[in-house]
């Protein structure tokens, strides 16, 4: 079985042909692309010391990932590896690398680099969030030849390629074996080399990272700008000012700023499907909660029907958000009947307060009930608090008496651990992020051994919980794409019908663009950060990329 993008491969070939013949391709990179961002995270160029956001913001410019993106649709696609196959017994993945790749010092990129990189990510020195997970999944790594690497797994690991794609995680970043072994870790961190379309120039802690375009063709595309400066500007008003004055061509912004940015004459770039805030119900299966209104799924559905999502999109998100799809699914979700679920969502996430009230009355709450609601926002999506506040107003309108408690994320997060005594019987805000592989997030929310365990724990796994375990297990072990899609659909349906973790809107990433400094371009769906897009950003006088 070969996993290969049916859309991307011909599209990339066409793009390559177009670029080779167009006047733009003949132009040498020129000028400086300046990007102002609110955080550079650890600001290190060593992939094993950085987490996902930092990797996606700036490391992605200079490093390639073993598995890459489906640029057009979002989700995973070819990267350093152009194809990957699973063994007949399901216990190994073989990655075939594209030929002709090289490091910034001119050395060829080979399967030895891939083996070295994965082992380095899994080493004790690694700070990678998924290092432990990879150690559990990967048994050994073999170099078959210079362009082929085989990863032997502990059991069937159907999601391994996705977890090595930058669409999902940073752990697939490929690092130069010979160079690191020659100069050592410390020197590598000072003078890193990668294989991406941008090479490292300078890292000024707390201020900026500078890159320069490589002087050869690259499979991700040759940069249009000669230099790339990623500036750390924590204050949003300053970032917007820099975009207005032209000191930055692109500036990261939040939904709260969009209106002002548009009035100031800047353009707004939106990145679809980067996150989906949800509200969910904790510990409804526990002894103390079984008599709670929230233990009834029709009551939970009524709370969803009471939400006017279009109003939230219009007034809280300045019109720059979308109606959601089922829990942790997006237009680019792999192995899913996305059109079916789009239709389902339009019907089921509608605003129908009358039906909501009718359901409450039928369930024995004609005068509503008291709802305890924890309002919080995860890092990077502060707008969730405003969304939660709007929801409270909407619930109040159908007679629900809401007690709201606002939590800073650092205070809320510990409540999820242990027996969740402070959350049981509560509803709260939560979030899923735009990843193409739905099962990982379903596991984190609904498996009995997960942190959230919304359907039950190991000792209290009832009918709904057991059914979920069965479906999830089927999805992650199924190797046939068609059957996997069927199982994935069944798992999504099972969860959607429980109304336990309910999507509110599909959020987006936002950037202010100075059109005098950069031309038109699009981001990759589900990929909030722009680290994999910089090389495609044109000058204002050049053809737009994906207008």
């Amino acid at each position: 079985m070969v996993f290969r993008s049916r859309v991307l491969a011909p599209a990339m070939t066409a793009c390559a042909a177009l670029l080779a013949t167009s006047p733009v391709a003949a132009q040498e990179p020129k000028g400086t692309l300046v990007f102002a961002v609110d955080s550079l995270a650890a600001q290190t160029l060593d992939p094993i010391l950085e987490q996902r956001p930092g990797n996606a913001v700036y490391q992605a410019a200079m490093y390639d990932s073993l598995v890459g993106f489906n640029i057009e649709r979002g989700g995973i696609g070819p990267g350093v590896a152009e194809s990957w196959t699973i063994a007949d017994d399901g216990l190994a993945w073989t990655f075939k690398l594209r030929a002709g790749q090289k490091w910034h010092n001119g050395d060829p990129l080979t399967a030895h680099d891939v083996k070295f990189s994965l082992e380095r990510v899994m080493s004790p020195a690694s700070q990678a969030a998924a290092a432990a997970s990879l150690r559990r999944s990967i048994k050994s790594i073999e170099v078959v030849d210079d362009l082929t690497v085989r990863v032997n797994t502990n059991g069937t690991q159907i999601g391994l390629p996705a977890s090595l794609s930058r669409a999902v995680a940073p752990e697939g970043s490929i690092m130069p074996k010979a160079y690191i072994e020659k100069v050592g870790d410390e020197e590598f961190r000072k003078k890193p080399i990668g294989s991406g379309p941008w090479k490292f120039v300078r890292n000024v802690p707390g201020d900026r990272i500078e890159f320069e375009a490589v002087d050869h063709a690259h499979w991700r595309g040759r940069p249009k700008f000669k230099n790339l400066h990623v500036l750390l500007v924590p204050e949003e008003a300053t970032r917007v000012a820099m975009a207005r004055t032209g000191e930055a061509g692109i500036a990261a912004i939040t939904p709260e700023t969009i209106e002002g940015v548009v009035k100031a004459g800047l353009e707004v770039l939106t990145v679809p499907g980067t996150t989906a805030p949800v509200f969910q119900f904790w510990g409804t299966w526990r002894e103390g909660s079984k008599d709670s209104p929230l233990a009834k799924k029709r009551v939970r559905q009524a709370l969803s029907l009471a939400l006017d999502r279009k109003q939230i999109i219009q007034h809280v998100m300045a019109g720059k958000a979308a109606m959601p799809r089922p829990f942790s699914t997006f237009s680019f979700t792999d192995s899913l009947s996305v059109d079916r679920w789009k239709t389902w969502s339009e019907e089921n996430f509608r605003y129908d307060p009358e039906l909501a009230k009718k359901i409450l009355a039928e369930e024995g709450y004609p005068n509503g009930f008291e709802l305890k609601f924890a309002n919080t926002a995860l890092p990077g999506t502060q707008f969730m608090v405003a969304v939660g506040t709007a929801m409270v107003d909407m619930w109040t309108k159908i007679g629900i008496k809401v007690t709201v408690k606002h939590y800073e994320w650092g205070a809320f997060s510990p409540l999820v651990r242990g027996d969740q005594p402070h959350l049981t019987g509560w509803a709260s805000m939560y979030r899923t992020v735009g990843r193409p592989d739905a099962p990982w997030r379903y596991n984190a929310a609904f498996s009995p051994d997960s942190g959230e365990r919304l359907f039950g724990d190991k000792d209290n796994c009832g009918e709904v919980c057991t059914k979920f375990v069965e479906l999830y297990s089927g999805v992650i072990n199924e190797r046939d794409p068609k059957k996997r899609t069927e199982l994935n659909d069944a798992m999504v349906e099972h969860v959607a019908n429980q109304w336990m973790s309910i999507p509110i809107i599909e959020g987006m990433g936002y950037y202010a663009i100075n059109a005098k400094k950069v031309g038109q371009f699009a981001a990759i769906a589900g990929r909030h950060e722009l680290g994999d897009v910089f090389e495609r950003v044109p000058h204002p006088d050049q053809s737009p990329w994906k207008k």
Binding site: A41, A42, Q43, T44, L49, Q51, R52, Q127, A129, A130, A132, S133, A169, V204, P205, G206, D207, R208, L231, L232, V233, P234, E235, A237, T238, A241, M242, R244, T245, E247, L378, P379, E408, W409, G410, A411, S413, P414, R417, R431, T432, V433, W440, R441, N443, A444, S450, G451
Partner: protein, 305 residues
């Protein structure tokens, strides 16, 4: 004088220990950095491993004792986020902060002191009230707001100056004004009140009786004596500038220790936060000690008491 210095040093050490304790405890009350570092699907095993690797697995008192023991050897820990020694990070950013502070002080002296003298000489009239209004505004205006307004006016609307970041001389103007405004107002108020005291002194009357020109009396004899209280305030204000630079450096994307403090708080980088606050405290205590010594030197009453 020697006993005075030793006593001051001992006071400083006690204060430093108190600061270290408070910072250590408060930092941990705000949550666990691991919660910000792990993705939503992290397992309990992932969490345990990360906590252990960051040295956050022991009881708090054990962590504190380890922290104090290491601190006595000059090791204030490693930044959780940047994986570098916290002391190195602090000293790599300190020059960026120190490079704007002298300009802010200079601004305060050049504007604040003459304004204070003029206000004192015109006590009660329009000039005094005008200077007083400026001083109140300077003290009451939040740095954050002032910085944003300055950027809006001088960068966005007029296009005269850059919005922020370190760079050539033009990059210093707005941060120095933002940082120096409070100081200017403080210098003005203190100079005015100090001058009013001095103007009533016997030696001023004597100087006038001796026929010295009013310019010499005011700007040489009066101002020199009025400067003594300013010396004390100078130490306090420099401390305020080092700590208060958090807001200014954040607004202007200035990579100094103020911004480093902000980042340490945002990312719950305990070791870095502890190191930054302790090192800032050492700086401020050293400046205050220096000022105390100078003050004792110029004013024997302090020394003898």
């Amino acid at each position: 004088m020697g006993r005075f210095i030793v006593r001051r040093l001992l006071h400083g050490l006690v204060l430093l220990f108190m600061v270290a304790t408070v910072v250590f405890v408060l930092g941990r009350l705000t949550g666990n950095p691991v919660d910000l570092m792990l993705p939503e699907d992290a397992t309990a095993e992932d969490r345990t491993r990360l906590i252990k690797s960051l040295g956050l697995d022991g009881p708090m008192h054990t962590q504190f004792l380890v922290f104090i023991g290491n601190a006595l050897q000059g090791d204030l820990g490693t930044s959780i986020r940047m994986r570098q020694p916290a002391v190195d990070l602090f000293f790599s950013r300190l020059p960026n902060t120190l490079v704007i502070i002298p300009w802010a002080i200079l601004l305060a002296m050049v504007v604040g002191i003459p304004l204070g003298v003029v206000a004192a000489l015109n006590r009660g009239n329009m000039l005094d009230r005008g200077a007083g209004t400026i001083a109140v505004l300077g003290i009451a205006t939040p740095n954050f707001w002032l910085g944003i307004v300055l950027i809006f006016v001088f960068s966005v609307e007029l296009g005269w100056l850059p919005s922020g970041r370190m760079g050539g001389p033009e990059h210093y103007v707005l941060p120095v004004i933002t940082l120096g405004t409070f100081l200017t107002a403080g210098f003005m108020r203190l100079t005015r009140s100090s001058m009013l005291d001095v103007l009533e002194s016997e030696f001023v009357k004597l100087a006038r009786i001796k026929g010295l020109s009013e310019t010499v009396v005011i700007w040489k004899h009066c101002l020199r004596n009025a400067m003594i209280p300013l010396l004390t305030l100078w130490g306090v204000f420099v401390g305020n500038l080092i700590t208060g630079a958090i807001v200014t450096e954040t607004v202007f994307a200035w990579p100094g220790v103020g911004r480093l403090t902000y980042e340490a708080v945002i990312y719950r980088d305990f070791p870095l936060l502890q190191a930054v606050i302790i090192l800032k405290s050492i700086l401020i205590l050293s400046i205050n000690l220096l000022v105390d010594i100078l003050y004792a030197y110029v004013d024997p009453r302090i020394r003898l008491s």
